[in-house]
Point group: C2
Chain length 409, copies 2
């Protein structure tokens, strides 16, 4: 008997009608002879509503109590889904993160799953129950309720699939799968049949919102097959998995799998950093301590004992980064610093890229042909990213999608 984990996001369980629809879908998987575990997010705008309430009470809600508050959203939707399943005749039981044995570390609002004690889950599955688990939440060793932060429910689903040895983790979403680029931007965008973890990871990190990078990391680590598919129809979506053999990579002539763009990025430049050991590490250490992710670091040539450093952060972090950088620049005796939120990060992603040295050059040429200036570049084994002006992002994506002929399989 196969074990299937299914994850439904907030828009899939937005109201009672949607919940009934999801129940039918879950029931169908059960009817096919699977053991089914379902992970749900909070209903529609419940989380936003709760955040609003908290902000009415205090400008800076303490994180512990915020987790206590927000974790109720998933508890509500899971209970309603269990009711809807029982209503149409399926034995089912809902479990909070704590009841499902999802153990996390102690970082409120951004906790990580440490382990899953599946004994309760397995007991329920053995009794032929469909098990609904609250996504996005867990419990610490001290019995404190935590939430996993952004992308939390995807991560819950993949981690459960890993712990249960599930055959597949189906992520239901409002798009049909993973595309060569954003179909809203490029109508010619093509749905990918399959994609590797690394490719998915890069695409997810680079702005393709369909899966959260954290969940892909966990899937890669535990080799969980993810099926990203639409909650509105039965079409096959995109399978995220390791390619089965090296042969398959070599046979592949698709070097670039997708084009991603990310507008949630800002460029920071710190000027005149004294060129002493430890200056950069103090800067990035302080940002890391505040959990501010830094990307695409570029250091200029040294001149007269000082150097400039540019890097990108997400726009959400600009305010906090500003504060920290202000302090650190004083400490290390650096000069001024600037933020530029008018940028976008454009990336091409593909596992075959490393063996095709011409790919990056083709990207740069394509952008140059469109008179798009490249402000920063970073490369990895499977991607090349460029920072350009935000208003040119659409033009860049369309031309790159064409240049790499992504509309054809």
């Amino acid at each position: 008997m196969a074990i299937v984990v299914q994850k439904f996001g907030g828009s899939s369980v937005a109201d009672s009608e949607s919940i009934k629809r999801v129940a039918k879908r879950v029931g169908a998987a059960f009817d096919q002879g699977n053991q089914v575990v379902v992970v749900v997010s909070a209903m529609g705008d419940t989380t936003d509503h709760l955040i609003d309430l908290a902000k009415q009470v205090t400008k800076n809600p303490p994180k512990r109590e915020m987790d206590m508050l927000l974790s109720t959203g998933e508890q509500q939707s899971m209970a309603l889904l269990a009711m809807a399943l029982q209503h149409i005749g399926y034995p089912s039981v809902s479990l909070t993160g704590q009841q499902a044995g999802i153990h996390t570390d102690m970082v409120y609002a951004k906790s990580k799953i440490l382990s899953i004690d599946t004994s309760r889950l397995e007991k329920e599955l053995k009794q032929n129950h469909i098990v609904i688990v609250a996504g996005f939440q867990g419990v610490t060793q001290d019995n404190e309720i935590t939430t996993l932060g952004r992308g939390g429910s995807d991560t819950s689903a993949v981690a459960l699939a890993a712990s249960l040895g599930a055959d597949v983790c189906e992520i239901f979403t409002d798009v049909e799968g993973v595309y060569t680029t954003d179909p809203r931007l490029v109508p010619k965008a093509r749905k990918l049949t399959s994609i590797t973890y690394d490719e998915m990871l890069e695409l997810a990190s680079l702005g393709a919102a369909v899966l959260h990078p954290r969940s892909v990391e966990v899937a890669k680590q535990f080799n969980v097959k993810i099926h990203v598919r639409s909650s509105f129809n039965e079409n096959e979506g995109t399978i995220v998995q390791e390619v089965e053999s090296v042969d398959k990579i070599l046979e592949k002539d698709m070097v670039v799998q997708g084009v991603a763009y990310d507008l949630n990025t800002a460029k920071v430049t710190v000027f005149d950093i004294p060129d002493q050991p430890g200056s950069a590490s103090k800067l990035f250490g302080a940002l890391a301590e505040e959990k501010i992710n830094v990307d695409m670091i570029i250091q200029s040539q040294q001149r007269e004992g000082v150097t400039d450093i540019s890097f990108t952060v997400t726009r959400d972090d600009v305010e906090r980064a500003n504060e920290i950088i202000g302090q650190v620049t004083k400490e290390i005796g650096a000069g001024d610093f600037s933020f530029d939120s008018g940028v976008a990060k454009i990336s091409i992603v593909g596992a075959g890229m490393i063996t095709n040295p011409g790919v990056a050059a083709r990207m740069f040429k394509t952008l140059a042909d469109q008179s798009i200036n490249i402000e920063m570049i970073s490369t990895s084994e499977i991607k090349v990213s460029c920072v350009i002006r935000a208003e040119l992002a659409k033009k860049a994506v369309i031309s790159l999608h064409d240049a790499f002929e992504l509309e054809h399989e």
Copy 2:
């Protein structure tokens, strides 16, 4: 250092402004040097909203999932209150029923508190935290979330006060305390300074909504002093406690403490029950099994081997009772049965009643003088109840309040 347990109902925490007001009140008790534990209900109409949602999904929501759903209401209000307290500088922490160690039996929707493991609570109090506990909920030995049913938050508060050896359990409500009768009905109604557990228990059972009888039972059992008071002002309310000495009872010339009325009652009559051993026990056994409370049982004189039995149930239970009685009458070979929802139960309550045999007679005479027909009577050591026509309830309460001179101390 005194331990104070404070309980705030749903209307006291209906929105963010109310929650901020409650926070100030709680903070004031903390400032007076008390260790403070606060029990909260769900915000305003949250519970109704959740019940609505469940009914949209299924006509008969399974009780386990209903408890899962409803318990989120208290979790939200406690988190928000903890935020509000921290916002004005008070160290505080919120705890779910499970975290607070409130262990219940396995009866979903109507569970009873079996024990409270206060170790976490005491740890938090020792750290000088104000502890906010979700009312109305607990957890079973199997780690299943349960709710306590009607009056649950009052019961949570009193049980916590008992377990912690609190000096007082303050129940904040929208009235000033316990009155000689409903002040909305009788403007001359007087606020009682103090009342015994038994008197309060009778008044609560008989329709005075200010405290739930369950909470009074627990308070009596563990000798918890309850202070019923207004959440809108600082006035002293009504103290519920055991009278300190027999002398005090004897000196009391207040025989009747209050007049209660209950419109949530219906009279059932089952006709022609074969007068055989076990007939009545089958009937009431079946009702008890479905947790339908039966009150004021009256059996008519036997005639020709059959007898009629009348009793009262709450109106909420009429539908379910109807079903059960239909089955049982067939089984035991009884005749027809009828429901009458046009009745009210009027009661007088007072601890001194047992030593004053004239009290019941005065009640009957007062009603007779008003041409009010008495359909059923039941008496206990501290109360006399009469079932009369519902439309005469107000007239009956006013005349009894006058007859026993309750407006004067």
